[in-house]
């Protein structure tokens, strides 16, 4: 298994897009850092820091692309046979890809977290302290870390779906578009969804509602709309992720190549 993960990492690191994406992420965060310094009215320095200078949103996009490509490229390049007729088992091949993506997503979260701290120190060292109260009795840094934990869980909910779709359609395009739409659909349909949930209570268990976890974890009053407690949402996210992963596993094991 270690060998397989190493091989996946080797492929990931040798793609030109991999280093490029990290550089782009840092550039974008820097731009928003500078904007919040020059135009604090539109981009509040504390809000920008808590949202990691928009880094989190970009991480989701990049991870959706990476997850769909790590599966679909093997079908696209015809390399899936080479992967499968070795002494390893199919399940191991798939799990090695998941582990690689898990490591990659942790890398991204750590990178954005550390870089937002660096930006904060450079741009606002004396303006505000991390321990200042931000909202809901949480300090700034607490808010940021809690938001990150929530984001990590809901990102993986989306990623597990993307991994499944890439597996089913063997194409990056379908997996990426549905992943992105799924992620951004939330803000568009959540109003309607909340209304419908008032009518049909069981709707609160739908996966899109779980995506509100990052907001609710920071601001408990969200509970009134999501109708779920925070632990329920944590478990809900984990269970949906597990279900999507399990379907992926079955599909991958049964596929004829």
């Amino acid at each position: 298994m270690v060998t397989l993960v190493k091989q996946e990492m080797y492929k990931l690191l040798h793609k030109k897009s991999t280093p490029a994406v990290s550089v782009v992420l840092l550039i974008i965060m820097t731009i928003f850092g500078v904007l919040s310094k020059t135009n604090p009215k539109y981009w509040g320095p504390k809000d920008m820091f808590v949202s990691m200078y928009t880094g989190e949103n970009w991480v989701v996009l990049f991870m959706i692309a990476a997850c769909s490509s790590i599966i679909a490229m093997e079908f696209q390049y015809g390399t899936i046979k080479e992967l499968l007729y070795r002494k390893y088992y199919r399940g191991e091949i798939l799990v090695s890809k998941w582990i690689t993506m898990l490591v990659y997503s942790i890398y991204f979260f750590v990178l954005t977290f550390v870089y937002s701290l660096i930006l904060k120190v450079i741009l606002y060292n004396s303006k505000f302290k991390l321990s200042d109260t931000y909202a809901n009795n949480h300090s700034i840094v607490e808010t940021q870390v809690l938001g990150m934990v929530g984001a990590f869980l809901s990102v993986w909910l989306i990623l597990s779906l993307v991994l499944l779709l890439a597996n089913v359609f063997k194409s990056t395009a379908a997996a990426i578009s549905i992943g992105i739409i799924g992620y951004f659909a939330l803000s568009m349909v959540s109003g309607l969804m909340f209304v419908l949930m008032q009518k049909w209570d069981w709707l609160k268990w739908n996966p899109l509602n779980m995506m509100n976890l990052p907001s609710q974890i920071v601001d408990n009053s969200y509970h009134k709309m999501t109708l779920l407690s925070t632990p329920e949402m944590v478990w809900g996210s984990l269970i949906y992720t597990a279900i999507f992963m399990a379907i992926s596993y079955v599909v991958f094991k049964r596929r004829s190549v």
Binding site: Q7, K11, E74, K81, V257
Partner: protein, 303 residues
């Protein structure tokens, strides 16, 4: 058992309602080069994929070195290198990076370099594979099958896209490796391509094995034919068959020549019956012809 590396018995495989492999049985002797020959769509790639544990099969057994092979039993794959259908290539990696990626820990850089050298790929091995031509990709695919010095190598139509020189180099390399004890199973839809290479031949058509034989036996089995043009072919056929000559199914008078077949006897027999001979031809049917004959005459029925 010790000298059989691959054993396939009563293998059946369907894709949906399509019965693609029908009761396929054959074995490969250790150290031999075995040719798997058959027309397009016969099931060569499908057999190879089953042997590599790539999919489930309805019934049958496959063993490599005594270990059973199936999608859930891949232990034997450690000894196997393969190229199936077309090579799978990552465009963003160079040839060398491919070889490093798939090299086992026990494979040294020297061994990788030697494979590259033998495949004559040194000139472009460090370029990204997206710039490779079809033939270059094919060579990389073969190099990937060979890089870990497997005991058993499976090559599916390896000569595809290779120029004559590369084709010859590959043959030399295969023969060298076979001398050192590597076993090969090589498929092709063209027998002449493998003729100079293989020890044994397995012929497949429409999912059935129609012929297995050593090359030596097949070469001896090539028929000599005597083809006559006469004033009355129909009558000549009757007369000859009544007199114990073996006639082949053809428009003209086509006799299988045996050790005791004498031209003089035939001329006398025909002229005694008032038939004139206009022309005589001796034909030594080559391997390709015998194979075509075999495929044409086989009793395989479409299902």
């Amino acid at each position: 058992m010790a000298d059989t590396i691959l054993n396939v018995e009563h293998l059946n495989k369907s894709f949906g309602s399509k019965h693609v492999l029908k009761d396929v049985s054959f074995s490969v002797q250790s150290g031999h080069i075995v040719g798997l020959v058959g027309p397009n769509g016969a099931g060569k790639s499908t057999i190879m994929k089953a042997v590599l544990g790539l999919f489930n099969y309805a019934s049958g057994t496959i063993t490599i070195d005594g270990d059973p092979v199936s999608p859930t039993s891949h232990k034997a794959m450690d000894k196997v290198g393969a190229l199936i259908e077309y090579p799978g290539i990552y465009p963003f990696l160079s040839g060398m990076q491919h070889l490093k990626l798939f090299a086992k820990e026990s494979t040294t850089q020297d061994q990788i370099d030697e494979t590259v050298d033998r495949m004559k790929m040194t000139g472009y091995i460090n370029q990204k594979a997206k710039s490779y031509s079809l033939g270059m990709k094919q060579k990389l695919g073969i190099a990937l099958a060979l890089v870990n010095r497997p005991k058993f190598v499976i090559l599916d139509e390896p000569m595809n896209g290779l120029d004559p020189q590369a084709n010859k180099d590959l043959r030399t390399l295969i023969l060298d490796l076979a001398k050192q004890g590597t076993t090969f199973l090589i498929s092709s839809h063209i027998l002449s391509e493998l003729e100079k290479l293989i020890d044994d031949l397995v012929v497949i058509d429409k999912g059935q094995i129609v012929y297995t034989q050593s090359m030596a036996a097949l070469e001896n089995g090539g028929k000599k034919l005597l083809v006559l043009k006469t004033s009355d072919d129909a009558k000549a056929k009757d007369v000859l068959s009544q007199n114990g000559y073996e006639l082949n199914d053809a428009d003209n008078v086509n006799i299988t020549e045996k050790a005791d077949t004498k031209m003089a006897d035939i001329i006398k027999l025909l002229s005694d019956n008032g038939i004139d001979i206009d022309d005589v031809q001796h034909i030594h049917s080559d391997l390709e012809t015998s194979l075509l004959e075999l495929l044409k005459n086989d009793k395989v029925k479409e299902s």
